[in-house]
């Protein structure tokens, strides 16, 4: 049975005529505006073959070249990684790892030899990587005082409660407080190139320009009022597990000392995942066509200060070049190629389905 449609404007006089006996009758009809009668002009899209199928094909055709570009770029990045934790007894740093105590005055030095098979061009970045280190643990992430790190003098001597238990050392406040600062990575890595005469040439490592500009110039500030940092930090204590106080992180360069030390800033930017790498040094590219790191033998001198074996962590050193998409990560390239192909294939399947079943939509009558 079909209900007939009708014109809603008809017979509207009937109602007011019926109730006009009372005299002044208020018309309770709602306004006949497009908004109130839900007749606003609108765009009503539907999924038709004409819009869906071209979209799938276009996406497939765009994604595959992008994926190939990403994959090729990632493959052209050169990366070298070496684990120097010293787990197995034949690794060079085994003794340092085994004999680690917190009270050593004499630093333990170990040397790792490796060979680069290909020369590294352009700027080369040296990273240290840690594994199984949960810098994203909630208690750890909260354990800092951003006001103190921004140079606020009241927070310097009275840090936030979030820093507990690394807030005070005895009666004196710790600067910088918190677990993140306390666990600062303090291995020293020095790289030597061993040339054909077996003589060691130190590779120049640049330690500035490794932290974000906003971190270095906005977020982290030394306490104001005293250019002599030893005096500025006089009422504070060093963090429990540090060998030196914060104003001795880099005494030779006042722009890299105190809270604005770039290694410190890089460490304070907590990582999102338990396996991460942080920028340690930059090897500037040489002028002309000389590769930055020619292929050959290298020697890495490690001052082993950072214990990771107690929580089954691993330390590694990474040398890597960079491209417009960052470091070596083939995932995006492979993902784009895969998604592009699936999209294209799905477009073909949908086209076949549409061809076979399209008559249903147009010719089939609506059952009553």
């Amino acid at each position: 049975m079909m209900a007939s449609s009708y014109n809603a404007k008809e017979e509207d006089g009937h109602h007011s005529g019926a109730s006009s006996g009372t005299g002044l009758s208020k018309n309770k009809k709602p306004d006949n505006t497009a908004f109130k009668q839900q007749r606003l002009p609108a765009w009503q899209p539907i999924l038709t073959a004409g819009s869906v199928l071209p979209a799938f094909f276009v996406i497939g055709l765009i994604f595959i070249p992008i994926g190939i570009g990403l994959y090729v770029t990632s493959n052209n990045i050169k990366e070298f990684e070496i684990d120097y934790t010293g787990v197995s007894s034949d690794s060079p740093c085994y003794n340092c790892a085994k004999n680690f105590t917190w009270n050593t005055t004499e630093p333990c030095v170990c040397t790792v030899n490796f060979t680069l098979l290909q020369p590294f061009e352009s700027n080369v970045f040296m990273y240290y990587g840690l594994s199984n280190f949960y810098q994203n643990h909630r208690r750890y992430v909260k354990s800092r005082d951003d006001r103190q790190l921004n140079g606020d003098l009241s927070a310097l001597t009275d840090p936030s409660k979030e820093c507990e238990p690394y807030r005070k050392s005895g009666d004196v406040s710790i600067a910088p407080c918190g677990a993140i600062a306390n666990s600062l990575f303090n291995d020293t890595l020095v790289l030597y190139y061993v040339d054909s005469n077996n003589s060691k040439i130190e590779v120049p490592l640049v330690k500035k320009g490794i932290a974000w500009w906003t971190d270095k110039h906005v977020k982290f500030r030394n306490p104001a009022g005293n250019s002599n940092l030893t005096l500025a930090f006089r009422d504070t204590a060093k963090p429990v597990n540090w060998a030196k106080p914060v104003y001795e992180l880099d005494p030779s360069d006042p722009d890299n000392n105190g809270f604005i030390n770039e290694d410190f800033i890089v460490w304070m930017r907590t990582a999102a995942l338990p396996t991460f790498r942080k920028l340690y040094r930059i090897i500037q590219k040489k002028s002309g066509t000389t590769p930055t790191l020619p292929n050959g033998n290298y020697m890495l001198n490690i001052t082993y200060n950072y214990p990771v074996l107690s929580f089954d962590g691993r330390k590694r050193m990474i040398l890597s070049t960079i491209s417009w998409m960052g470091g070596k990560n083939p995932f995006l390239g492979i993902a784009y190629i895969t998604v592009g192909s699936i999209c294209f294939f799905l477009g073909v399947v949908l086209l076949i389905i549409h061809h076979k079943y399209d008559n249903r939509n147009t010719s089939a009558d609506i059952p009553s």
Binding site: S4, Q44, V141, W212, P274, F331
Partner: protein, 406 residues
């Protein structure tokens, strides 16, 4: 068996008892419509009570859920407004569960990578603003204005009302579908950024896989996917909808940029620790490629599924929407103006086979029953035979010389 029962000369109590009978034994949703004070009990007993304001006073109107002035507006109430309300409510529920499950399940996957320490994968301010600011207005716009089919087409095809009666749009199955969809979306929304940021750096060698950049990436991906899902669910895009959706997206980027700015950091240092994150991560092509990949991986399956269902198993809704685009509505037959007195009082009626025996089963009548000759010799009603119906009250017969109601 008869599909329609007419009860006449019934007291108000008996009217209420008829409705109660149907409610109790058939577990159906009942609607009662009346205009007089004697209909009040029936209106109150039914699930939906409709009062007609008019000659018999305002008693029925005051006790009803809906009221209007003329009986024929019932058709519009059910087929247009009732149907739209049902569709809007179901879309709202489905979408609300989807966006919140997705939001929460991403945190769940992150728990496996943060030592189960309940570290949130999103920024704290984002969590605060997500339901209140970023996704509030778009959903409101969809629920206020959405129409799948406009009112004239709704009246022309009353079969569109059937999904509401069968509760097809939001039931256990629909809820399970929603949860599965959220699971899939959350897996994509976490693991694609995870794989893409794993051991990666910026294009100048500096950090990008830090917690703050990862949080920003995850929340941007989530919001874009959730907005696009809303765009796919909205069938009727008025100017207000456009404003709400695009405005919310702009609001997200402006609020996030503000919270990562130097000024806010200087003013409220501990509250805005994400200083500099947008500037340092959103200018990386890496990040935008990840966002684009995540967005497409979440949305394309939905589009493909919907398209396949439209092609293979089109519902009445799909067919009417398609017809609406291609055909013009046939011009309605002009309705003859008639003046008539409303001498009928309210009545209870049922709409499908099987109620006849219930009502005439005398479950509520008193034991005084008199034998009388059957009024109708036909055993099958004309609905059964798909013929047009003729409904008239006794009083009208005198007025009309000829003709039939359409």
């Amino acid at each position: 068996m008869c599909q329609t029962v007419i009860c006449c000369r019934v007291t108000p109590l008996q009217k209420a008892q008829v409705v109660q009978l149907v409610k109790k034994y058939k577990q159906a949703v009942t609607l009662a419509i009346g205009d007089g004070a004697n209909d009040v009990s029936m209106i109150k007993v039914a699930h939906i009570g409709v009062g007609i304001s008019g000659q018999e006073g305002m008693q029925a109107v005051l006790s009803s859920d809906f009221s209007f002035a003329q009986f024929r507006y019932l058709q519009r109430l059910l087929l247009v407004h009732g149907r739209w309300s049902y569709i809007r409510m179901c879309k709202f529920l489905g979408y609300f569960f989807y966006k919140n499950f997705t939001f929460t399940l991403v945190q769940f996957w992150y728990a496996f990578f943060c030592g189960f320490s309940a570290q949130t994968v999103y920024e704290d301010w984002f969590i605060t603003f997500y339901n209140m600011v970023y996704t509030a207005l778009p959903v409101l716009g969809m629920c206020l204005f959405d129409q799948d089919v406009n009112d004239r087409w709704s009246l022309y095809h009353p079969q569109l009302y059937a999904p509401g009666q069968k509760n097809q749009y939001f039931n256990k199955k629909a809820f399970v579908n929603c949860v599965m969809h959220s699971c899939y979306s959350s897996l994509i929304l976490f693991f694609i950024p995870w794989a893409s940021m794993h051991d990666t750096v910026r294009d100048d060698g500096k950090e990008i896989a830090d917690y703050q950049s990862f949080a920003l990436l995850a929340q941007t991906c989530l919001l874009i996917v959730v907005y696009t899902q809303l765009c796919l669910d909205t069938y009727y895009w008025t100017a207000v909808n456009h404003f709400f959706v695009w405005g919310s997206m702009v609001a997200y980027f402006s609020i996030t940029l503000t919270m990562c700015s130097n000024g806010m950091f200087y003013m409220f240092t501990s509250s805005f620790p994400f200083i500099g994150t947008t500037r340092n991560s959103l200018n990386q092509p890496n990040v935008w490629l990840t966002i684009f990949l995540t967005f497409l991986l979440c949305i394309l399956p939905v589009v493909a599924f919907r398209f396949i269902f439209i092609q293979l198993r089109p519902t009445i809704n799909d067919k009417v929407r398609y017809k609406m685009r291609t055909e013009e509505l046939p011009v309605p037959a002009p309705r003859r103006l008639r003046r008539r007195h409303s001498t009928r009082s309210g009545y209870a009626f049922s709409h499908s086979q099987g109620y006849g025996d219930l009502v005439t089963s005398r479950k509520f009548l008193m034991k005084r029953s008199t034998k009388r000759a059957p009024l109708f010799t036909q055993t099958d009603s004309s609905i059964f035979q798909n013929q047009p119906q003729h409904y008239r009250t006794i009083a009208e017969e005198a007025e009309e010389s000829q003709g039939h109601s359409p």
